[in-house]
């Protein structure tokens, strides 16, 4: 191919002055500004969370010491016993003093001691976190593995029979209460069919029912979200370009469209963490899964305030952290944000 000489000369003139390279200086500044902004707001969230979770204790009716002692001994505690207990746990100091004391300890990584078990709250948490993490990660993975392809598939055949079926099934999926679904699965697969154990923890077969229970809602949500996003993307101009290039449908859908549709999907997965945590509380309770969710609910029943406070705080921290990570990931995934700092 021969080219007219004039065309190739002076290629730099039509581009904007100071053309920034990807990942260059400007990209870094945008990243840093975004990061700082998010970090500041994360710190604020945590401060308010600590204050709220601490004041919770003081809005509670009745005396926690009394409740605990009654639970421990099964008898109504005497006045002296209550006094002694409160003194030992600093429960009778003024609100602000306790609050500051708590914050001080917090900054030293001390979250107090469980009233029920006498163990440090942080240790109670870390001891159980693994079980919940296992559940959450498995459920999330299952949802993505199943939900993503189905959502993409439905979007490539809008208003087909498959699409309609998926739509109804996924709507049902987000409508089923998790605790009930868990019990029904147990009934079906443990009791009636005898395929899987319903309680306990340790082997893969123990994992199946809780994970499926937890995954159904997220999968259904994901299918719908992916479908909507893919439909939107598939209507955009650059998909027409991809078709005009003679690319195969597989490439157009799974590369050109999905790569763009995936960006919001990944952010939404971060918000699904809240759903996952809530689900974990329910599912762990139903399946007696020894994770943080079950321990949290048991602590609520027992009014184990240090545990409630500490767990809320840690959960909030995890939540904030994951969302921070998602924000950063988003910036990396979307070259447009990386460049323009759109948030």
């Amino acid at each position: 191919m021969k080219l007219n000489k004039r065309t190739t000369v002076d290629v730099s003139s039509p581009c904007r002055a100071g053309f920034p390279r990807p990942g260059g200086k400007k990209g870094n500044i945008v990243m840093r500004r975004l990061l700082i902004q998010r970090l500041v707001s994360a710190v604020f969230v945590m401060l308010i969370a600590s204050f709220l979770s601490f004041s919770l204790l003081f809005s509670a009716p009745g005396n926690p010491a009394e409740t605990i002692l009654r639970q421990q001994s099964g008898l109504d505690p005497t006045y002296d016993e209550i006094e002694l207990f409160m003194k030992r746990h600093d429960l009778n100091r003024p609100f602000l003093v306790q609050c500051l004391q708590w914050l001080y300890l917090l900054t030293h990584g001390k979250l107090g001691v469980s009233l029920r078990t006498g163990e440090p709250v942080l240790e109670e948490f870390t001891a159980r976190f693994g079980a919940t993490f296992q559940l959450a990660v498995a459920a999330m993975a299952l949802s993505v593995i199943i939900g993503l392809p189905i959502g993409v598939f439905a979007a490539t055949r809008p208003n087909s029979l498959f699409d309609h079926i998926i739509r109804i099934v996924s709507l049902a999926g987000v409508s089923i209460p998790e605790f009930w679904l868990g019990l029904m699965l147990m009934l079906c697969f443990s009791l009636a069919l005898g395929w899987l154990p319903c309680f306990g923890h340790g082997t893969v077969s123990h994992l199946v029912l809780p994970v499926v229970t937890l995954a159904v809602g997220i999968t259904a949500f994901l299918v719908r979200f992916v479908r909507t996003n893919m439909l939107e993307v598939l209507n955009l101009d650059y998909i027409k370009t991809a078709k005009a290039k003679g690319l195969r449908e597989v490439v157009i859908v799974w590369k050109h469209a999905l790569k763009n549709a995936l960006i919001p999907v990944i952010t939404i997965l971060g918000t699904q963490l809240g759903h996952l945590l809530a689900g974990a509380v329910i599912v762990e309770t139903v399946f007696s899964w020894p994770g943080i969710g079950k321990f949290f609910v048991d602590s609520i029943y027992a009014r184990d305030y240090p545990v409630i406070q500490g767990f809320v705080l840690i959960i909030a921290a995890i939540y904030v952290l994951v969302n921070l990570l998602v924000d950063i990931l988003y910036v990396y995934l979307d070259p447009r944000v990386r460049y323009e700092g759109r948030s």
């Binding site: 191919m1 021969k2 080219l3 007219n4 004039r6 065309t7 190739t8 290629v11 730099s12 039509p14 581009c15 904007r16 053309f19 920034p20 390279r21 990807p22 955009l236 101009d237 650059y238 027409k240 370009t241 991809a242 078709k243 005009a244 290039k245 003679g246 690319l247 195969r248 490439v251 590369k255 050109h256 790569k259 763009n260 960006i263 979307d334 070259p335 447009r336 460049y339 323009e340």
Partner: protein
């Protein structure tokens, strides 16, 4: 003849009836020739380009014939058609910013065409993509940049590079100079000239444009479209010197910057076209007959035709 379109009709189904975006279009394109397609906005130019490449949405009903090298593209199985796109016929769309994939680097967007149609391996494809970028006037070191990092002119060059990747014999360019600064428009025109007339054998191009200046500079022949029909065609110089259709005349008298709305009145609704000659409500020369009887194309010279009773 490279491309021969006969009585092409494209009707879109809509709530109020059929939108007749192309209503019996006949067009011929010879090898190595640049054919300009001009007309006011909404006259069906883009639809025509999309019909040739069969990229119209499913809501479009298409009939007629599009013969490319004697083969009817409209009757081709989808898989065969896919192999025509990008390899034999390339289309460069309006608005390069939205037509380039924002999540892929321009290098990848060029290289993937080469991998698909020419079976090049990863490295060879990227190598060739770099050459194509240089060819269209983008430094090869920008191969990894993303569309939003480029200026408007650079994006248009990248679009052209994609279109040229597999050396197609026909290029369809839809408003390639729209929205660009005048100096850059000139560069793009020169580039388009270079990649069509400047190669051997010369490459054919269907150039859709609003800009009569661009059409005059680049095209060999010109077709004027109005409300889904070709109302005049002929050699570019001939049409410019001796426009015979009242619409073409108004077009040439008008200023190019106003969206090519050439004359008094509004463009007709493509759903309820005026009876008779679709142009008659706006035509200065209209007579009684024009409102009742649709005019047919009259040949008025060597390769010059007009759809008007009183041309």
């Amino acid at each position: 003849m490279l491309l021969k379109i006969t009585s092409l009709r494209v009707y879109f189904k809509s709530a109020d009836g059929f939108v007749k975006a192309a209503d019996g279009v006949d067009l011929e394109l010879y090898p190595g020739e640049i054919l300009g397609l001009v007309g006011e906005t909404g006259s069906g130019k883009t639809v025509l380009g999309l019909a040739i490449t069969r990229l119209l949405p499913k809501t479009a009903a298409v009939s007629g014939e599009v013969l490319y090298r004697g083969q009817n593209l409209l009757a081709l199985p989808e898989e065969e058609m896919r192999k025509v796109r990008g390899r034999q016929v390339s289309m460069i769309f309006q608005n390069p910013l939205s037509s380039l994939n924002p999540a892929l680097s321009i290098g990848e967007q060029i290289a993937e065409v080469l991998r698909e149609h020419q079976g090049l391996k990863r490295k060879a494809a990227w190598q060739r993509a770099g050459e194509l970028l240089e060819l269209t006037g983008i430094p090869a070191k920008w191969i990894r940049s993303y569309p939003h990092e480029l200026s408007g002119g650079m994006r248009q060059r990248a679009m052209i590079a994609i279109g040229l990747a597999c050396a197609p014999s026909l290029l369809i360019a839809d408003e390639p100079t729209r929205g660009l600064d005048v100096t850059i428009q000139v560069q793009i025109v020169e580039l388009l000239h270079a990649v069509t007339k400047g190669v051997s054998p010369p490459r054919s191009m269907l150039l859709i444009t609003h800009d009569l200046g661009v059409a005059a500079a680049l095209t060999d022949r010109l077709a004027v479209m109005y409300a889904g029909k070709i109302v005049e065609y002929g050699r570019t110089a001939e049409v410019f010197r001796n426009p015979r259709h009242p619409y073409t005349r108004a077009l040439l008298d008008s200023h190019p910057s106003n969206g090519l709305i050439a004359t008094r009145g509004f463009s007709p609704s493509l759903i309820n076209l005026p009876p008779g000659c679709s142009f008659h409500p706006r035509c200065k020369k209209a007579r009684k007959k024009c409102a009742h009887e649709p005019p047919l194309v009259q040949r008025i010279g060597m390769d010059h035709g007009v759809r008007c009773f009183y041309a």
